[in-house]
Amino acid sequence: MDDGPGTLRVLLSTIKFGYLRHVIQAQIFILVLYSMTEHDLPVNVLWRIDPVLSISAAVAGHIFPLRFLFISSLFLLASLIFGRAYCGWICPLGFVQDMISSAKSLIQRTGTGMKVLYEFSHPGSSVHLVIGRGKDDVIGHVLYKKAESSMHGLLGDLGTGRSGEIMQINEIWLTSAYRGRLEGKVLEFAEKFARSREFTHVVAQPSRHGEITLYRNSGYGESPQGTYYHPLGGRFQTPEVFRFAKYALLIGGLMTSVAAGWNFLEWLTPMSVLPRALSPLWGIIEGTIMGVSILILVVLLAIMEKRWWCRYICPLGAILSLPSARKILGVRLDEKKCIRCLKCERACTMGIIDVRGQSGLRWDSECISCLACRDVCPADAIGLNWT
């Protein structure tokens, strides 16, 4: 793969895998719905491949369900190769969440395009820069004070991407008083920027505050330029430590199974949540309260943040993450090609990409191989690859 792009690779790069994935997910979803109308298929098809269910049933009931354990160990072995691809491409509960976040982004996209406000106050003192998609995306706010002499340096930083923070500009507004004096410089910078990045048009406005405001999609913290904060209207962001919650839930559930003989995780695996919640569709209403309430919870959390359930709760995701840490086929980031446009960070379903930091895929084991990052990458820097 190192000897340039092959024909197949060029051909593949024209395909958006997102649509393909949704088609597969929808087909599996319909298959699941159909199989549940058959009398004894839901457990046999869906639940028997679930390693969490079979393991906790074995330890809870002091039984040795050989068939379940065999099939589910095959499932675990498969995730040694493909990682958590099951979550991204097959899981019906994941499909529900994907559809919800797609609908959400469709609603949000109307009327708000990515905007960059490049504002100069006194050319001698400071700069006010606003980058964002709209009011809802106001997340970062950075003070930037520089002398006029270093204005050039700032533009140079931006142009080469060395500032590390302002990486994508779709619009630069150039207006009013300073147009005459700085237009040339900004346009030059924009041209430079445009060689590797996408933007639509250039506008600039005078600033009143002498500061840079960064509108980004996620994250807050320290940066060389100053401090970000998370103002009102910022996107909901769960602390990253919560990713351990699903492992805690897995450990706790298995220990509960051992100690109390009660298959605690049965309520929580995605294999059971959806069939349980949707069983009223064919007239079985007795067991649905738990399933419906969990499904409502999943939906509400998915509205807040993409695949919240998969990120922080799902015990099946937790157990699949363990072999997935040493997976063979997974999403890899080519740092040489990466232009730090942050599109993949925004697109990532699991919120694990961090191209600003040093690490690339920060939580590689939790990547569900949905390839949303690959679809949006303008530089072909990220995508499926063998280790």
């Binding site: 190192d2 009398h39 004894d40 298929l41 839901p42 457990v43 639940w47 906790s56 074995a58 809870a60 009931g61 002091h62 039984i63 369900p65 430590v241 351990f244 492992y247 805690a248 839930l249 450990i251 706790g252 559930g253 298995l254 220990m255 509960t256 199974s257 109390a260 003989g261 009660w262 298959n263 605690f264 049965e266 059971s272 349980r276 069983s279 007239g283 079985i284 007795e286 067991g287 649905t288 309260i289 738990m290 993450s321 840490a325 890899r332 980031l333 080519d334 740092e335 040489k336 090609k337 690490s359 690339g360 895929l361 920060r362 939580w363 590689d364 084991s365 995508g383 690859n385 280790t387």
Partner: protein, 223 residues
Amino acid sequence: MSGKRGNTAFDSVSRRHFLATLGAGTAISLAGVTLGGKTGRTEVLRPPGAIEERAFLSLCARCGRCVPVCPNSALQLQGLENGMDNLMTPKLVPALGHCIMPLNGCQNCIEACPAKVLQPLDISELPTQELSRVLKIGTATLDTSRCIPYSLKQPCLACWEICPVVGAITIHGGTGKGKGGGIRKPVFNPEVCVGCGACEFACPTSPKSVRVLPAGSKRTEWN
């Protein structure tokens, strides 16, 4: 494409995070044990063919499919009355309806069970006196202080009339002399009783004089 391998979650896990995860897991399991309790703490009247209780609780899908197929509405899903571990597992409530399996060999709940925690019972060849060798849901017990023939000395044989199992309820008395001596009284034979609950269903007293208890139930092995 010479991709840089990203850090895995396990490379970036600090010792503090690892211990915190373990601690949280322990806390969750403690909470689960407290809520769920020890399995088998409370015995419940299960549907016919139910496998051994530990395996039943670990494998029952709590899907509720056995409930609507019961022709007598005998099965109900449990709430939290017997702890979290029994939540939404089926229970036979003879006061609402009795199991008619000893009558006509109905196996609707067994056929409906997707998790196979209700195992098929072959009772077609057996005479009703020997049913309890295979089918034993529980054992009916009589509270003679409430039972009408015993306490009020009035005639009542509702349980004997409905009982589908020959020999499970026998009639004693009816020949004696003195006050109440001529009243025929039902006597329960726990060895023959299959625990279908017809007697409890038919019992006219309130509260019921006859209770079917899960004691002595035969549970099949899971396979």
